[in-house]
């Protein structure tokens, strides 16, 4: 258990009424002992394997293939082969496959939700109510575009680009898969997807959905592995790389594809500012701040990890925030009443611990509500740092964990200046009852998404992406189609 600062604690810790455990049953998930690679519609055995565990108790779940460069080559070749016919079938036929995938995902939602929580550590209420409905919705949404590309980009003659290599992160494994695969297929491309090393299982189960949907072999190929597999995919004969993950790796990928003619989109880190004005609806704002940083244990690239509070409301706001933190239920991701689940991996836990230590050393005040963390598995208590200076590492670097840094401001101009003073620019939140101020702030903030009086809301129709070192290219909405299309007059690849 992490060190807990004994603050004057006014949190209503349950005394008379302790909720009985309400675990979601795992019976619905049938895992194999060992998974190969999904190439050309078949399971191809891998030469080496690694074990994927559940972060809630470190229990091994399955052995997963470690794809080599030649495996990746084989997958790209399969995708290239499939591209010939897939890019030529009528767009409305392509749409049918996507609709089918969307429906199957919705039908098998519980199975996928349980597996997502088991392998990734996120609370079942989130995988059930957020990840799965959104993943399905993305396929539905892009299914609708498949035969309307000419209308999305009038007079530009959109064409598919070829084979897309897609590398996705571990924080929303299935949802990021959907964000990547749905627009690629709608545009008539084929795909080689590499799931994150720590969370490959829902992608492997998704292969089953593809077979159920009778998607032609090779249109989607799934190769699992660590960073070397990802590097092999970047270097392979693909026409486009789409990557979601850390800024560090994103920069490395950009260096590697420079001069190759491969198209590239990057969705990278963030250090979002959540800006609380003194006229905001305070209790709802606190709820939004909590959701902004503790949703998915803070493993969210657009998490509201920097809170800027107007000084005139600072004390009541922080008091309310701390009290609310006391009612967060941290524990078994599969319990339906869990609000904050397990940290995704040992590696990530180490990084969070290192940065939290840095915050303490730099002189910020730490607060963690009293909570009992499970002994096994990877856990970190919800944490807030107050008295944080703009120059501290915890105000600069992405922690990617349940750690909030609180800073203050006096005027809207100062809030904007401080919020923008970061290499990142993925998202921001504004909390005020004043509509004109919301519009003004949204114009000033250098962030791809600005939420007003809410946070972490996603919808397939809405484009998502970053400014500055948070990446380039947009996913979602009509904009999300563009990276997967070549237009009349521009060079086409692959075909």
């Amino acid at each position: 258990m992490t060190e807990v600062e004994k603050h004057r604690d006014r949190s209503p810790v349950p005394a008379g009424w302790t909720y009985a455990p309400a675990p979601e049953s795992t019976d619905i998930v049938n895992l194999r002992d060992r998974y190969g690679l999904f190439i050309g519609g078949e399971w191809v055995p891998a030469k080496e394997h690694f074990t994927t565990v559940s972060p809630r108790d470190e229990a091994p779940l399955a052995e997963v293939g470690q794809a080599t460069a030649s495996d990746v080559e084989q997958a790209v070749a399969a995708a290239r082969e499939a591209f010939r016919s897939w890019s030529r079938i009528s767009p409305s036929e392509r749409a049918k496959y996507l609709f089918r995938i969307a429906r199957i995902l919705a039908e098998r939602a519980r199975e996928f939700a349980v597996l997502e929580s088991l392998n990734g550590g996120k609370p079942i209420k989130e995988s059930r109510d957020v990840d799965l409905p959104l993943a399905s919705a993305h396929f539905f949404y892009y299914a609708g575009w498949a035969d309307k590309l000419e209308y999305a980009f009038p007079n530009r003659k959109p064409k598919p680009i070829g084979v897309a290599g897609q590398i996705i992160p571990w924080n929303f494994p299935l949802l990021m898969l959907a964000w990547k695969i749905a627009p690629a297929l709608a545009g008539g491309n084929t795909v080689v997807l590499k799931p994150a090393e720590t969370t490959p299982l829902t992608a492997l189960l998704f292969a089953d959905v593809l077979r159920q949907a009778e998607l032609p072999p090779g249109v989607v190929n799934i190769v699992t592995g660590d960073g070397t597999t990802g590097a092999a995919l970047v270097d392979s004969d693909v026409d486009k790389i789409a990557f979601t993950g850390s800024t560090e790796v994103g920069k490395a990928i950009q260096r590697r594809v420079a001069g190759t003619g491969k198209k590239l989109t990057l969705e990278l880190g963030g250090k979002a500012a959540n800006i609380l004005f003194d006229d905001a609806a305070l209790d709802q704002a606190v709820e939004g701040i909590i959701n902004g940083i503790y949703f998915n244990q803070g493993h969210v690239c657009c998490a509201g990890s920097r809170l800027f509070v107007q000084e005139s409301i600072y004390e009541p706001a922080i008091e309310k925030l701390k009290r609310r933190m006391g009612t967060l239920r941290v524990g078994d991701p599969l319990d339906k009443n869990t609000d904050v689940g397990a940290i995704n991996s040992r590696e990530q836990l180490n990084r969070i611990e290192e940065l939290v230590q840095a915050g303490k050393d730099e002189g910020a005040d730490i607060y963690q509500p009293p909570c009992r963390l499970p002994e096994k598995g990877y856990w970190f208590a919800p944490t807030v740092f107050t008295n944080v200076a703009q120059s501290y590492r915890i105000a600069q670097e992405e922690i990617f964990g349940p750690v909030l840094s609180v800073l203050t401001f006096r005027t809207p101009e100062e809030a904007v200046e401080k919020a923008n003073n970061t290499p990142y620019g993925l998202s921001a939140g504004v909390w005020t009852e004043k509509g004109s101020r919301i519009l003004w702030m949204a114009q000033q903030l250098r962030a791809g998404v600005v939420w007003a009086n809410t946070f972490n809301r996603f919808d397939p129709t809405s484009p998502f992406g970053g400014y500055k070192e948070s990446g380039f290219g947009r996913e979602g909405g009509m904009h999300g189609l563009e990276p997967y299309l070549a237009f009349d007059g521009s060079e086409t690849f692959g075909g």
Binding site: K125, A281, Q284, E319
Partner: protein, 312 residues
């Protein structure tokens, strides 16, 4: 330092950064939070505990023109012993009736510990001169009511005459004497969550011991987001003054599942201190039978026919 202009009963215009501000409510966010809390999964022992608490917090209510001493007597028997087949099931908190039936209820409930609550102040509209309302309260107290459920003057509130609403509550509170005062906001006539919050703070500042959502005479009575807004106002008053004001949702709570959702909200907003009939009540008439059925299901593992539970 400047002295804050004093408002009645401890509410001051804040000259420092502190609560309570009147503040505002974001409709989308408060409904979202209420919907999330409603998804808590309460099982086994936790469920039985909650169901028994819901019974202990119940104000068993009949407010009909056709009420008779016989009807009230039947209700009182139910209040004392909700499930004749199971002596472990506790009594409800109170029986809530019109003033004319206080006597009948008093007689039947004598010695049981179950309180008699009466509506007053020209319930349910409140559209009468103040002296008539006060007389209504005085009479109810004189007839032995332990608790008075008053209605605020929504006409005055909606036309911005907050002082009139405030003064009325203050005078009704005085007329109550030792009787507890529950202030009915009639939220479905207030129209916005902002108004619910304002009326809640007003009622507490004027001395209400409880704030209550509804008369039960209108559709769209108690809802989970409305209760959440009221609980947060109660929390702010407690934080600022240390005073604990009670909460009573009324109207529309008919199932055990729904009752548990209301209790979860209290638990996670105000904490365990409020999970007592002294600070929490549920105004209901048909809820009790559904809870009895659920309790028996928990005990025996099987649902029983409605015919095993008395209609009173």
């Amino acid at each position: 330092m400047a002295k804050a202009p004093a408002l009645p009963r401890g509410f001051q215009l804040p000259l420092e950064q502190r609560l309570p501000r009147i503040g505002s409510i974001d409709q989308v966010a408060v409904e979202q939070r209420a919907a999330e809390l409603a998804k808590r999964s309460i099982k086994k022992d936790a469920k039985v505990w909650a169901l028994e608490l819901a019974i202990r917090c119940c104000d068993l209510t009949t407010l009909e023109g056709q009420d008779t001493p016989g009807k009230v007597a039947a209700l009182c028997s139910k209040a004392i012993r909700p499930d004749p087949g199971d002596p472990n099931v506790p009594s409800v908190a109170a029986v809530c009736v019109y003033p004319n039936l206080i006597g009948a209820a008093k007689e039947r409930l004598a010695g049981s510990g179950v309180k008699v609550a009466s509506v007053a102040t020209y319930f349910p509209s409140g559209q009468a001169p103040l002296d008539v309302k006060l007389r209504d309260v005085e009479d109810a107290v004189a007839m032995g009511a332990d608790e008075i459920d008053m209605v605020i003057d929504r006409g005055a509130f909606l036309s911005g005459r907050y002082a009139k609403v405030f003064d009325e509550i203050v005078q009704v509170k005085e007329a109550c004497g030792a009787a507890h005062l529950k202030v009915i906001l009639e939220v479905s006539e207030l129209g916005t969550y902002d108004n619910v919050r304002r009326a809640s703070l007003l009622a507490m500042a004027a001395g209400g011991d409880f704030i209550k959502t509804s008369t039960g005479k209108l559709p769209g009575a108690a809802t989970l987001p409305v209760q959440l807004v009221m609980l947060e106002a109660i929390r702010d008053v407690h934080e600022e003054t240390g005073r604990k004001v009670g909460m009573k949702p009324a109207g529309g709570i008919r199932t055990s599942k729904n009752a548990i959702q209301y209790l979860v909200q209290v638990h996670e907003t105000l904490g365990p201190d409020w999970l007592t009939p002294d600070l929490y009540r549920i105004g209901a008439s048909s809820l009790v039978n559904d809870i009895l059925m659920q309790l028996r299901t928990q005990r025996t593992g099987a649902y029983q026919s409605k015919d095993y539970f008395t209609n009173d």
